[in-house]
């Protein structure tokens, strides 16, 4: 048990933080823990969590994906345009857009792994290029409303549970299996810890790197379609907020931005923390400016706890084991 705690100290802390935050929020606004409110909190957190899934893989591999906002936005807009409010086209539109998201990820990954372009620049470039192309495509005008099926996926319920929460749960299981049980996961942690050592140990570093960006493209595109269902419409700029929140969720979840550590289970707690904070501030009658200050403070706090200076007991235990 203590070894488990030492290894996953930051993830455990993220969940502890989440619970503490829930209690504090419940204290200030008694209705917060009600079923309906918890339901809407989980739904909102699911969007952050799904986008942050890909971001987690990329960050564990030592990269970063700044193309998330406009991959998300492109998928949302193109889906709305191609479907025109009808359910039937979704049969081919959804696979097509998932493939499109994966393709953008492929380009990002190839740029980073094969051409040695720094991830920040590579993904920034694809982000602005996508932004421009979508603006050209739509001419800045709004799009048709979301198909009913997508609305069901993002706001509907199955025997009381929000559908999107079930989707999120399934994705969490897949991500956990990939990270903890699959060879890909072991390769990924090795790659993030030291690309050179991984390369010499026979890890297919290029393929692993590319795959992380492909996953990120997939989850961003998927989240974009779901988010269209949630808001009923696709609009320009709907992905912008997810750049900050996806990275913040990963950081709060205990992953090092340098790569090689962290887990999607931590990110799940990170996404919950960010969303609970969003709900907490109106209850305290605080402005959106205050929310940004709290976001920043929480990120600073969690990365400080994760830093070497504060590593303390957990770090010492880990070193003894190694």
């Amino acid at each position: 048990m203590s070894a488990f705690l030492a290894r996953n100290r930051l993830i455990v802390l993220a969940y502890a933080g989440m619970l503490a935050l829930l209690l504090v929020t419940a204290l200030f606004s008694p209705g917060f823990l009600s079923v309906s409110n918890m339901r809407s909190t989980v739904v909102l957190a699911a969007f952050v969590g799904i986008v942050a899934l890909g971001q987690t893989f990329v960050i564990i591999g030592g990269g970063i994906d700044l193309s998330v906002p406009w991959v998300l936005n492109s998928a949302a807009i193109i889906m709305a345009l191609l479907c025109g409010g009808q359910d039937l086209p979704l049969v081919w539109v959804m696979p097509l857009l998932l493939a499109g998201g994966a393709f953008i990820g492929l380009i990002n990954g190839i740029g980073v792994a094969q051409f040695g372009v720094p991830p920040i620049i590579m993904t920034l470039a694809t982000n602005v290029i996508l932004q421009g192309l979508i603006l050209v495509l739509t001419g800045g005008s709004p799009t048709p409303s979301a198909p009913a099926l997508i609305q069901f996926l993002s706001v509907g319920r199955l025997s009381g549970f929000p559908v999107i929460a079930l989707i999120w749960l399934a994705l969490t299981l897949v991500a956990t299996l990939l990270l903890s049980k699959a060879a890909f996961g072991r390769h990924l942690y090795a790659l993030g810890t030291s690309a050179t050592v991984a390369e010499f140990s026979g890890v297919p570093t290029a393929r692993t790197t590319i795959l992380t960006y492909v996953i990120s493209g997939l989850t961003a595109a998927f989240a974009g379609m779901l988010l269209t269902g949630y808001s009923g419409q696709a609009y320009l700029g709907m992905g912008d907020a997810y750049l900050f929140t996806s990275i913040a969720a990963v950081a709060i979840g205990g992953a090092s931005i340098l790569g090689g550590s962290g887990h999607y289970l931590g990110t799940v707690a990170g996404a919950m923390v960010l969303t609970i904070l969003t709900g907490l501030l109106p209850a305290l009658n605080l402005s959106s400016g205050a929310l940004l200050i709290v976001y920043g403070a929480v990120i600073l706090l969690t990365v400080s706890i994760g830093s070497e200076t504060f590593a303390g007991l957990g770090g010492r235990l880990r070193r003894k084991e190694g």
Binding site: G116, I121, A125, V128, L135, G289, L300, T309, F310
Partner: protein, 342 residues
Amino acid sequence: MVMSVQQTVQMAQRPAKTKPTKPAIDWRGRLLDRAPFLVACLMLALIVGIYGSLQSGVFSLDELNLDTAAAMTLMLAATGQTIVLLRGGIDLSIGGMISLGTVIAATRFTDDASTTALWALIILALGFLIGALNGLLISLLKLQPFLVTLATWSILNGIAMIILPTDGGSIPSWWVGFASAQLLGLTSPVWMLLALLLFWWWFRATRVGIAIQATGSNEKSAFLSGVSIARVNLVTYGLSGLFAAGAALFLVTQTGAGSPTIGKDYILPSVAAAVIGGVSLFGGRGHLAGTLIGAFVLTLIGNLVFVLHVSSYWQPVASGVILLLSVLASSVAEKAARNRAQ
């Protein structure tokens, strides 16, 4: 040990070769070293060339004045970013600092010159202090610059939104007029551009400037050479904050108002301008002249899109493609240089 054996072998082999000659200047190596910068110059020349052939009066002082004014906010922000990139870090908080600077200016500047001057100084001091705080957090807690400055960006942005929730406020007309003040036919932004180059020419050879670049190239060897990494971080991020504050003070002459969200438009473009100009994201390599050219490239794309009569939405596409091309060029050049070295 291995090294020394190799060296001995090399030394033993050397006399066996032909008679020693004066070491030739390695022109190809030098060219490869400066390739990213030269590519940026070429891009700028190309853009100005196309622009000039489509629009009359491009090669005039007026045009220079106009374009420099349009690029100056980005140039100031990118100057700070260049210093941070040379250190091997990144500063995302400049977005928050720029927003904060504009809202303080828009709510505090008055027609009274001394009050305004005092507040301008306060904004600059705040910029340096907040930046220095970033540097302090990074060295004291051994944190990653990306996350620290992401957090402070959020905090500063929040403070800006509390001071001024929506775009507005007012900037006294005499402060706005500063951007079009002329001396010898050149407006103040052009003089500021020259001042930035002069600053760089001086700064990069100062003790601090050298320490920053050395730390960016190799932190360990810089530390072993007696460089205080904590002090380097303090000054690096402090200067970045200072230049971001300067960017805010200039930006309000262009917008005439404050905006709690405007700063985020300069975060990644400031990195892009530096990278287009050949500054390496891995630290230690680059020059402010490149960054300023990169800022001109990014600004002039907007003009080009305008005179080509295509939708202005092509501007981000073009800047993304240019960013990719220039970073690919530098990575190819870097690979070629590495192959030569082996």
